[in-house]
Amino acid sequence: MNPTSRSRPAPDVTAKGPTPQPSSASTAARAVRRQRFNAVDLSLIAVFAALLAASIAIPGINVGPLGVAITLQTLVVSLCGLVLGFARGTAAVGLYILLGLVGLPIFSGFRAGPAVLASPSAGYIIGFIFGAAVVGLLAAWAVRSRFKTAALFGAALAGMVVIHVFGIIGLTLKGMALPAAIGADVIFLPGDILKNVIAVAIALSLHRAFPDLLVRRRR
């Protein structure tokens, strides 16, 4: 099965065929935009959004003396960027957040709906999109780097910083003092760093299992 599914992207090269051109410039522009994601891309976006939604339903694993139950959610956010890259990774996180805001109980604690934007953790939720985008942008460069593992970890950490900055801004916007917001935030840092280590390990294995996953063919 694997070799055939891997051969899927081949149409990019072979399918060019006789190419009747779209009649006007505007339809051409639209066609280009639409074809950015093919069916496999759509499927990956949807399934990673599902992975994010499912990650909150997985019972947290207790770590550390504080007994903070960590969920796998931030791990999956990093993974979206590391595995899917900028466009698809951001789309996956965006789709997840959109459906959560619309009312599916897929935010941590099974919260749902626009309420989340009013809650103090709104900054983190919004930060997920930007975090995944940053990780995705850097990951495309990191996989080609000589120090691939370190570069990918750096990308994941950069994304984590973005998420935490958004989170802290969100807390202060809701009326919390900056020191208190930072204090409330750093509790989650050790767990998130650990999760990023794992995210990078998973991403490296995935890149081995599916070599053309992140590096898409040029057309």
Partner: protein
Amino acid sequence: MSASARQSIVLSAAGVDIVPADAAAAGPKTILKPLTLELAEQRIAVIGANGSGKSTLLRLLNGLVLPSTGSVRVNGLDTAADGAAVRRTVGFVFTDPLSQLVMPTPVEDVELSLRRLKLPKKERRARALDILAGYRLAHLAGNSIYELSGGERQMVALATVLAVEPSILVLDEPSTLLDLRNTRLLRERLASLPQQVVMSTHDLDLAADCGRVLVVDDAGIAFDGPPDDAVARYRALVG
């Protein structure tokens, strides 16, 4: 479009090589050596060992995999140039119906197939229920696909593919995940179809139902002919 009209699939020197994503690795790997074949019989089976190239051969028939050399034409349409049209002609059923069924319930999945017809929502639903009823699956219409048994899932997958009335049906090891009883049901269902059927299988009984059997071995066709001889050849290859 009539399914009973004679169909023809022509492969001309169609081969599939894979260029590894890692440029440093060894050269292209041959998945299927160039083949020249005409498939016109009503029932054709493809048998052979795992990894022999059966799946790739089937995927060539509806443009899921495009040949890296040569061409594949279905009723005159080139799979590379007219992929969308070819896929409207050739329905494809996968081994695992769970990856094929996209929507949460059977009725929604059939509706998804019917989307192309651009019907109003209500009419589309009615049509989908009709189709399920036609395959005696109406009682499952609203169930979660996760609640269906393996056999039911495969029947639903078949119905969603047949909903758009393809004239050729390609099945990739349709009975691998089925028990004996469900395999028999599938066999009866396939026998009753007006479509041309091409399927790969490990079930030699299923292969024996077909007028023509291709034995695939080591990325090429090792035998092409009537089922009895083909099965004998396959056994000899294994033994």
